[in-house]
């Protein structure tokens, strides 16, 4: 991907920052304008080192709940899956104060309801032939089933936190999360949105999806499983998905994951029109060869040097 590809995206991000320092999902007539955690975190990572990113972090810090979690947006009173993204951003920024520690503690103790006593008890009973299991993923919202995407974000966040402040509790929770993620692989070695297991008496998902993998969740799962050296089939599947998908979001997460796993990614011809979705735009900026994709690394240096271009510092 050329520098113009990246600089075009970074310029658009700079131009579309809300006055409060955050970003909305969509900047278009009729679309919402309030700042949301997810696009704000991705944009702050893409623009790391710039005042725009500092303003974003200042905004996000103010959203954190006293219990440690972040909501998806300041007027939303639901414990948010985006807490993991804020921890990742905090680690990138070298922030490690009490607020971040509280968030790590909250994330460590949260889990999808498939990790409830009932589910775990039935796993123990039925594990006789398949070996013991202690699978604990993370869910989008409290009291619901684990899904691949929130689990992947949580694993990246906790692995980054463990580089700075390792602890046995963190190590155990990461291991449980990794096992859960490996357990819900699709038959084709990639990942879709999660298992087809049972939660509170109902099957996952409102809809019945084919048991094949999706590009975005496969990229995210591989990102979360950094350090696992037994993933050749999964990485091959990721490359196949990268070549075949028409999803820009999928391509972005696959690019980030493959690059971090040391696999080169072919350049994508720049689109005529920039994406409407600012979270996607920021992800594309992060995913480029010159982008800040290394911020999702969970091994080695905790704060890779920012590589973005045209920074207006």
């Amino acid at each position: 991907m050329s520098n113009s590809y990246l600089s075009q995206r970074l310029d658009h991000l700079r131009d579309s920052q809300n006055p409060d320092g955050g970003w909305s999902y969509q900047k278009a007539p009729g679309a919402g304008k309030q700042s949301w955690l997810e696009p704000t975190v991705y944009a702050a990572l893409a623009l790391h080192g710039e005042p725009a990113a500092d303003r974003a972090w200042a905004l996000l810090k103010g959203w954190q709940n006293r219990e440690g979690w972040w909501p998806a947006s300041p007027n939303v009173k639901v414990q948010g899956w985006g807490t993991a993204l804020c921890i990742t951003l905090a680690q990138v920024r070298g922030e490690s104060g009490d607020a971040v520690k509280k968030a790590v503690t909250w994330l460590t103790s949260s889990a999808g309801v498939d990790a409830s006593w009932f589910r775990r008890a039935t796993q123990k009973i039925s594990a006789a032939s398949d070996g013991p299991q202690d699978l604990r993923g993370w869910s989008w919202t409290p009291g619901t089933a684990s899904s691949v995407e929130p689990s992947a974000h949580a694993l990246v966040a906790l692995k980054k936190a463990a580089l700075v402040s390792p602890s046995p509790a963190l190590t155990l929770r990461i291991q449980q999360g990794e096992e859960q993620l490996l357990d819900v692989q699709a038959e084709d070695s990639g990942w879709n949105y999660g298992s087809t297991s049972i939660v509170n008496g109902v099957l996952h998902g409102v809809v019945d999806v084919a048991p094949n993998s999706f590009p975005d969740t496969t990229g995210l799962a591989l990102l979360a499983l950094q350090g696992n050296t037994k993933l050749p089939a999964q990485l091959e599947r990721a490359q196949q998905l990268f070549a075949s998908t028409s999803s820009s979001r999928g391509r972005a997460w696959l690019s980030i994951a493959l690059r971090i796993h040391g696999i080169s990614v072919p350049a994508v011809p720049p689109a005529d029109v920039l994406p409407n979705d600012l979270s996607l735009l920021a992800l594309e900026a992060l995913a480029g060869a010159e982008g800040n994709y290394a911020f999702f690394q969970t091994q080695g240096a905790t704060v890779p040097a920012a590589k973005n271009l045209g920074a207006k510092v």
């Binding site: 909305s24 999902y25 969509q26 278009a28 007539p29 009729g30 679309a31 919402g32 304008k33 309030q34 949301w36 696009p39 998806a72 947006s73 007027n75 939303v76 009173k77 639901v78 948010g80 899956w81 009932f118 039935t122 796993q123 039925s126 006789a128 398949d130 869910s139 989008w140 919202t141 009291g143 619901t144 089933a145 899904s147 995407e149 949105y193 297991s197 049972i198 939660v199 509170n200 008496g201 109902v202 099957l203 996952h204 998902g205 409102v206 809809v207 019945d208 999806v209 084919a210 999706f214 028409s246 999803s247 820009s248 979001r249 999928g250 029109v273 409407n276 979705d277 979270s279 996607l280």
Partner: protein, 328 residues
């Protein structure tokens, strides 16, 4: 299936009867005025659908002049056979119909329930090709601003799309489909797209926790009855529908019909009768009946075609044959 997956399934079987059986049914039963449902023949997507939709809107006495309108199609998944999503022609021509009837502003928006890349769906579904300035007219409801609504099926606060709650008319532009779990997926379930993924994720497990029937009922209630100025309306794309293992893995079924009305349960019940399904046998419609609308055929004022002239019996999964309409 691995053995350790079996016990949770058994546990689920025991608890399934209780799951999701909570808040929605507390909605009081009341009487509703007899609703109108228009059934309009439309042989294909290449005919003048604008005129057909205008006819349907007029037959149901919906006057959108001066109103803000949200057209909410069913965008679900990549759809190579053209039977999963609301067809682009129906969306584009509904847009023109509302424009022709003087709507003040028209927005198109959806928040797909499990497919994260909404813009990929828009492109693949042909919306960009058929709807002028599609990107500037479309709002991804998964990332929309939100408004909290209270007392939603036992949930203290549920967040819904601000664009939907702010519209004068929310049009559920649904697809005529079977559903492997609920029997059918029509205009009421299409409202799941106003629940934002930014909070509830992909898929929106929260709706499962609430229960699909209660979630459909509560979304209909909140959109149709909690504001004196907001109305809902349904246009179901039954030109080509889906039978069998819907709402994603089924097969295309030509039905050649558009079904419209402002009482969503009555529209869905009429769709069921066209599909050869007894609406009273479906949990979500029996729960919705007389709480957010009408399903009794005797009370529905049928406009346009007679049902017997447009009946197209849809194949059902074996476990859903129990929903089949008993022959008269």
């Amino acid at each position: 299936m691995r053995r350790r997956e079996l016990l949770p399934l058994l546990g689920a079987g025991l608890t399934a009867g209780f799951a999701g059986w909570n808040g929605g049914r507390k909605v009081a039963v009341r009487s509703f005025p007899n609703p109108s449902v228009a059934v309009i023949k439309a042989a294909s997507y290449s005919i003048d659908l604008t005129a057909k939709i205008v006819d349907g809107l007029k037959a149901c006495k919906l006057d959108p002049s001066g109103k803000t309108v949200l057209l909410k199609p069913a965008l679900v998944d990549l759809d190579p056979n053209g039977c999963i999503n609301t067809h682009a022609s129906v969306v584009a021509e509904a847009y023109r119909a509302f424009q022709q009837l003087g709507a003040a502003s028209i927005t198109i928006g959806d928040g797909p329930e499990y497919h994260r890349d909404t813009w990929e769906l828009i492109e693949a579904a042909g919306y960009r090709q058929q709807i002028p300035d599609c990107d500037s007219r479309f709002v991804d409801l998964n990332g929309d601003d939100v408004v909290a609504v209270a007392d939603f099926a036992g949930v203290d606060q549920m967040y819904l799309s601000a664009t939907a709650l702010g519209a004068d008319i929310v049009v559920s532009l649904a697809k005529l489909k079977t559903h492997h779990r609920t029997g059918v997926s029509l205009s009421m379930q299409n409202l799941f797209g106003v629940v934002p993924g930014s909070i509830y994720g992909w898929p929106k497990h929260e709706l499962n926790q609430i229960g699909l029937s209660d979630a459909a009922l509560e979304l209909t209630r909140h959109l149709a009855f909690t504001s004196p100025t907001r109305k809902v309306f349904a246009i179901v794309d039954g030109i080509v529908g889906m039978e069998g293992r819907g709402p994603i893995l089924g097969d295309a079924k030509q039905a050649g019909v558009l079904i419209m009305g402002s009482d969503l349960p009555s529209v869905d019940a009429t769709c069921c009768r066209i599909m050869g399904i007894d609406p009273a046998k479906l949990e979500y419609l029996s729960v919705a009946a007389d709480r957010v609308g009408v399903i009794d055929e005797q009370k529905i004022e049928q406009r346009g075609e007679k049902l017997k002239d447009v009946r197209a019996v849809f194949k059902l999964l074996p476990q859903n044959e129990q929903y089949r309409m008993t022959p008269a």
